[in-house]
């Protein structure tokens, strides 16, 4: 960006209704733009093809529907009238500008770790967006979940406020990765296992969780169900392009790649990779099912006929196109939700600037019955060195009905 453009941008700021940001320099805005992308704010606060950050996207939670509010500088319906302190308090403490408790669908449990300077840079960037008058009713939960004071108790049990503190025993790269992964990138919002109230469990850090009908698999350094077999470069490649030789992002992770990680600096992605690979977990490998088990025999035949053309006889797929099923966290997750849904419904991998092919897997639900899907999933989870709990016909049946009930 040239000097004239910077001057013009600052000029626009001085004219903006936001007094606090008037003295902000362009580099802060650019930093804020980047950090807003890292935080993936648009995923919730921008509706598809709608004005940037004008709110309105509904987030399905186990408790009901929440709608993301308007973050544009509109004074009446956006955050234009907020002070910097109110903005920082919302992100670091989960308390809105009128003092109300915010719901955890807004990941303040992670954003609390973000430094005040970085949050103010984000605010400076948001202040440059065109103000949009769009009144959003955020809380659309049913009783009793619509009572916000209940969140005070939730916070006491599950929320640890406080900015990120670097670990002096670790490298600068590791600490950068930890800061991003635990803070703005809020990986744990999906990948930490949760209790029935939606709070992180004490021993489930990045070990995977099921939400929105998908398994967010373990992303610890575990060789079995985590991403221990991925190199740092491969993790960065996955986040940058949406795929690597092991996997392709689909479902909710496709949105994360689309809106956020594909635009991140490679050094930041490598730092996150460094941090994730250092996260230990002790996910136990169950005994492998016998290849002569009738479900395995049936599953192998189904695999050969239906799957092997793309995923190959050895289950390793085609690099950057068809994901490997061998050592796949999505296939091996204790909860088989993803593998069943992908067989039943199909899936489309994300398309990015770096890898514009968005290959898809078709639905097989119309030609495989529940018993066949169960046998196939069981086979995938117990061959090529894979080992995971078998999948029952009843589980497939339940999930088929569940998927059919959703549009």
């Amino acid at each position: 960006m040239n000097k004239a453009a910077v001057t013009a941008m600052c000029g626009a700021l001085i004219l903006s209704p936001l007094a606090d940001a008037a003295n902000t320099f362009f580099p802060d805005i650019e930093k804020g733009r980047y950090l807003t992308t890292v935080g993936d704010c648009a995923a919730c606060h921008t509706v598809e093809n709608g004005p940037s950050m004008a709110g309105g996207r509904a987030i399905e939670t186990p408790f009901g529907k929440l709608v993301a509010p308007n973050l544009t500088p509109d004074r009446e319906t956006g955050i234009g009238a907020w002070t910097d302190d109110q903005f920082v308090r919302a992100l670091q403490q989960g308390i809105g500008h009128e003092g109300e408790y915010l719901y955890g669908a807004f990941p303040y449990t992670a954003y609390t770790k973000v430094k005040r300077d970085d949050l103010l840079a984000i605010r400076a960037y948001l202040a440059t967006l065109p103000p949009v008058h769009n009144k959003v009713v955020a809380n659309q939960l049913p009783f009793p979940f619509n009572i916000r004071t209940s969140l005070m108790g939730w916070n006491m049990m599950f929320f640890t406020p406080g900015e990120f503190q670097p670990d002096p025993a670790k490298t600068e790269k590791w600490n950068r990765g930890a800061y991003l992964a635990e803070g703005l990138a809020h990986c744990g919002t999906c990948h930490n296992s949760k209790n029935f109230l939606g709070g992180d469990t004490s021993d489930g850090h990045l070990k995977g969780y099921t939400l929105q009908g998908w398994v967010a698999p373990a992303i610890t350094g575990d060789d079995y169900r985590g991403i221990g077999l991925w190199s740092e470069e491969e993790i960065a490649e996955y986040l940058k392009t949406g795929r690597n030789r092991h996997a392709a992002a689909s479902g909710p992770m496709a949105e994360v790649v689309t809106n956020s990680t594909q635009f991140m600096e490679n050094t930041d992605l490598l730092a996150i990779a460094d941090y994730l690979k250092d996260q230990k977990s002790d996910l136990q490998r169950p005994p492998k099912l016998d290849a002569q088990d009738p479900r395995m025999v049936a599953g192998k035949a189904l695999y050969t006929d239906n799957c092997s053309a793309c995923h190959m006889s050895n289950g390793e797929g085609v690099a950057k196109l068809f994901p490997s099923l061998k050592n796949s966290g999505s296939v091996l997750a204790e909860d088989p939700t993803t593998v069943i849904r992908v067989i039943l419904q199909g899936a489309q991998a994300v398309a990015t600037d770096a890898a514009p092919t968005g290959p898809s897997m078709p639905s097989f639900g119309w030609r495989l019955d529940d018993t066949q899907v169960a046998a196939l999933a069981t086979y995938l989870r117990n061959t090529w060195g894979n080992a995971a709990e078998e999948v029952s016909t009843a589980t497939v049946k339940t999930q088929r009905m569940d998927l059919a009930s959703k549009p």
Binding site: A309, V318, K320, L321, A351, A355, P356, T357, P359, M361
Partner: protein, 588 residues
């Protein structure tokens, strides 16, 4: 009432191979580009589902990817003294529609034409004397040479992930490649496809006869490949559903696999589907295109103004658009005046069926580009002195499919139906194969595209009229090359062969080839050609007409790579010359 839309920099008509190439090149140049496609949107992920795409009835017999005669057809006759009648069901050739066009339903054979093919008249004149070329043959030089096109062939092959073995690499012959091909600046981006049994047997037999067989260049990926646009192809699974079908495995090079995923990410590109361009809009001078008129699926007509109009609608529809727009003068075979529609040519193919006793070819393990070929009798690779014809054909064993409905070869004398027919198809399915020849087609005065005086299309435009029969030259050529193919076939050791060379008259009903060429040919002067060497219309400098329509005659190869190379070549001229100084790129 025609609604007028805001102006674009470039309007492209047809989103197949040429349209996609021109669109991404123009978008890369920063221009605001719109491409019109009369058929529907089609992408691999949504429309070519691995769960059901291998459906012979749907795609091969019912031809789902093709235009139907009800939507658009042509009248046909063999000769001018006959009355042309509308084609009621496409047969001899099948015109694709929808995004990807013919690039979606092609097979995958990806040949470069020989250097002498581009300078045919001057080459034959030099080698055999001007008097040796029959007066009736309208063969011409293209105005562009092989060496000028070579970098663009290379670019097309790298975009499309073509597998093969170079024959001549930087001037040096490479064992195992085609010894007759033009020089290559680089090896194919992928190795040849692993061979199946029939081509392997063919290559052994050809070698024993002293020929030099080589793997056919294939647009079905032989391995995983990521092209310069960043899109990835998967290795071909040999399912045998290439021709007339879409590819679900991202293996066959198609616009939707190799270009469109990258093109659609460009904010300065718009694809307008189910919108048929009716004509190019001209200004009062008739020397400048001002845009296009199109009709959408509701019947509403629009004017899309544009600074640059590029026709990429396939050879025959390109010519049709020139007629409908009143550009240039229609060719008249009596007075021999006019150029639009002149030099229509096709492809002269033949086959030799081989019936064996104890072979199992597994013909269903197949791919459009899988095969072995010999070029000894193609183009002017052999001495034509005293033969009474020019041209030639590629001889190949190219097992493209083992479709269960269509692929039922039986020996002569087998009943056409009933118990004996069933038994014969069962006995011969696995143990029969074919050696094919794909021959050149040279234009004559009598073969041309014109405007039908009687029949109108659904938009009220006069239909286009096709007048074509196999020229004597081409029938002699095919008889000669088919004999050579039969020699190779016999050397493969079958119990029986059945050689079928075309005899004429040309029949519009059975499928032969969708390699229609000519009608708006390129050349080095406006007296003999419609477009200059950069595919720019001589009469209308802001109109480019790209595709097989520009071929002065057709060679003994599948045309796709040449069509693609011409598109990249024209795009380069637009980007590096025309945009800097809009106007004629070649002074007449």
């Amino acid at each position: 009432m025609i609604k007028k839309l805001p102006k674009k920099d470039v309007a492209i008509v047809g989103l197949g191979w040429c349209g996609s190439i021109m669109a991404i090149e123009m978008a890369e140049a920063g221009l605001d580009v719109i491409a019109f496609e009369r058929g529907p949107w089609r992408d691999t992920a949504t429309d070519f589902n691995i769960g059901y795409v291998q459906d012979e009835l749907r795609y091969v017999i019912q031809q789902e990817l093709m235009i139907t005669a009800a939507e658009d057809t042509y009248t046909f006759r063999n000769a001018a003294h006959q009355t042309a009648l509308p084609i009621r069901e496409y047969g001899s050739f099948l015109l694709g529609t929808g995004v990807g066009g013919s690039g979606a339903h092609w097979s995958g054979l990806t040949w470069r034409y020989n250097p002498t093919d581009f300078q045919l008249r001057s080459h034959l004149t030099e080698r055999y004397g001007a008097h040796s070329i029959p007066k009736d043959l309208l063969i011409r030089d293209w105005g562009v040479t092989y060496s000028e096109l070579e970098p663009y062939y290379d670019k097309f092959e790298k975009m499309a992930g073509i597998g093969g073995k170079a024959g001549i690499l930087n001037g040096v012959y490479q064992e195992g490649g085609n010894p007759f091909e033009g020089n290559r600046s680089s090896e194919f981006p992928l190795p040849p496809m692993p061979m199946t049994y029939a081509p392997t047997l063919f290559a052994e037999a050809a070698k024993n006869l002293g020929m030099r067989p080589f793997p056919t260049p294939s647009g079905n990926a032989s391995a995983v490949y990521t092209n310069p646009y960043g899109v990835t192809m998967g290795p071909c699974t040999y399912c045998g559903y290439c021709s007339r079908c879409g590819c679900a495995n991202y293996s066959k090079a198609t616009p939707q696999t190799n270009i469109i995923p990258a093109l659609m990410r460009k904010p300065n590109f718009t694809a307008q589907v189910q919108s048929e361009v009716l004509r190019v809009q001209m200004d009062a001078s008739g020397k400048r295109a001002t845009g296009v008129i199109y009709v959408d699926s509701t019947g509403q007509q629009y004017e899309q103004p544009a600074d640059l109009v590029i026709l990429t609608a396939f050879s025959v529809p390109n010519v049709r658009l020139l007629f409908a727009s009143g550009i240039g003068q229609a060719y008249d075979p009596v007075t021999e005046k006019g150029l639009i529609g002149k030099n229509y040519a096709y492809q002269t193919n033949s086959s030799v069926q081989l019936f064996f006793n104890n072979k199992n070819f597994n013909p269903f393990i197949a791919g459009g580009g899988v095969g072995q070929a010999c070029d000894e009798f193609n183009g002017d690779n052999f001495d034509h002195s005293g033969l009474g014809f020019f041209g030639g054909a590629c001889i190949m064993s190219n097992v493209t499919s083992g479709w269960p409905i269509s692929n039922r070869m039986t020996p002569p004398g087998t009943p056409r139906w009933g118990k004996k027919w069933k038994q014969a198809t069962k006995d011969n399915y696995l143990s029969t194969t074919v050696v094919r020849t794909q021959g050149s087609s040279y234009p004559t005065r009598a073969n041309y595209l014109g405007v039908d005086p009687t029949y109108k299309d659904r938009h009220g435009r006069n239909m286009m009229q096709l007048t074509f029969d196999f020229p004597e030259n081409d029938l002699r050529m095919s008889a000669f090359v088919t004999d050579k193919a039969a020699e190779v076939a016999r050397a493969m050791g079958p119990k029986q062969i059945v050689a079928k060379a075309p005899k004429g008259p040309y029949n519009i009903v059975p499928f032969q080839s969708t390699h229609n060429t000519g009608g708006a040919i390129m050349g080095d002067n406006p007296r003999d050609s419609v477009v200059n060497k950069y595919l720019q219309c001589w009469d209308v400098p802001n109109l480019f007409v790209i595709g097989g329509s520009a071929f002065p005659q057709n060679a003994g190869y599948n045309p796709t790579a040449t069509v693609g190379a011409l598109a990249y070549w024209a795009a380069n001229a637009i980007r590096n010359q025309y945009l800097k100084k809009p106007g004629p790129l070649v002074q007449a």
